[in-house]
């Protein structure tokens, strides 16, 4: 289903993505995807530690 881009009419118009009943601003979507990416990286990336802690 194609995304339809609509614009707001504030002094700084935001870009919105619409998909059927679902609508979300690009900035909110970016924050959500960034949060998910940070979570995945926090689980997968090794934590640095000193050799003496081995």
């Amino acid at each position: 289903m194609p995304f339809v881009i609509v614009s707001g009419s504030l002094n700084h118009p935001a870009t919105y993505l619409s998909w059927g009943w679902l609508g979300i601003s690009v900035s909110n979507l970016v924050v959500m995807l960034l949060t998910i990416a940070v979570f995945v990286l926090a689980v997968l990336l090794p934590f640095p530690h000193d050799d003496q802690d081995e």
């Binding site: 924050v31 949060t35 940070v38 689980v43 990336l45 530690h49 802690d53």
Partner: protein, 246 residues
């Protein structure tokens, strides 16, 4: 003259020399607090090895962001909107306040997901989980009132969109988003105080019960971790706590 000594060793509760003092509320309150939170438990030097993971960092990252929020918010409240809307320094502090809120909410959500997937309410840590959830919901209200008092077109737009929703659920008479004075006082006075109290309560509970260990990986391992000390279900070596979170 009454003397003081520690009962039960150097880390035990303080007890005055006069036995009658043991019935005083100050004595009982002090003994109860330091019995529950001895200094080495409030500010420990080492944590279990499983804490050395990035997923344990986001609790303290949330607190760090909260400190920046409060500090920048104090500057904004001292100088006022005529300053933070017109001067370069005001724009900078306003942006620091805004972006520290973004980091605060992002860190808190990652912290929430991490604790949810490791079932962090195990080992009698239910109240720790509940206070964390409360901090999350009150933080949403605090951020919302912050958006309402930006004193720009965005805050005007948000308030006149939100009023319809709030009126529809019947709370508009008590929580009037078009009342700038009410929203401003909620944002700079009451809600930060509530968030601060809940966060301190949350951290004290983490210090009391210890950091929750990861879920067991063996099928025959106990599913319920022991309380008060966060001893893991498999032997681990302690590590330093720098850069880790409660």
């Amino acid at each position: 003259m009454a003397t003081t000594e520690r009962v039960g060793g150097p880390s035990g509760p303080l007890q005055t020399g006069d036995p009658a003092d043991g019935r005083m509320w100050t004595n009982r309150l002090r003994n109860r607090f330091f019995g529950t939170f001895p200094p080495e438990k409030l500010l420990p030097d080492r944590q279990p090895a499983y804490v050395a993971s990035w997923i344990y960092v986001f609790g303290v990252a949330t607190i760090a962001a909260l400190i920046v929020i409060v500090a920048s918010g104090l500057v904004l409240s001292l100088e006022g909107p005529a300053w933070y809307h017109t001067s370069s320094a005001g724009h900078f502090v306003n942006s620091v306040h805004f972006w520290s809120v973004q980091l605060f909410m992002l860190s808190m959500v990652v912290h929430l997901w991490g604790k949810f997937w490791m079932a962090a309410w195990r080992g009698h840590r239910g109240l720790t989980w509940v206070t964390g959830a409360l901090a999350f919901f009150v933080s949403i209200g605090t951020a919302f009132t912050g958006y309402l008092v930006q004193s720009n077109f965005e805050s005007q737009w948000i308030s006149f969109e939100a009023k319809d929703g709030l009126n529809a659920v019947g709370v508009g008479a008590w929580f009037n988003v078009a009342n700038v004075g009410q929203m401003l006082l909620l944002h700079v006075c009451l809600l930060p105080l509530v968030v601060g109290v809940i966060v301190v309560w949350h951290v004290l509970l983490v210090r009391k019960h210890g950091v929750v260990p990861p879920l067991p990986v063996r099928a025959d391992a106990p599913s319920e971790p022991p309380r008060d000390g966060a001893v893991p279900d498999r032997p681990v070596e302690p590590v330093r706590t720098e850069g880790t979170t409660p």
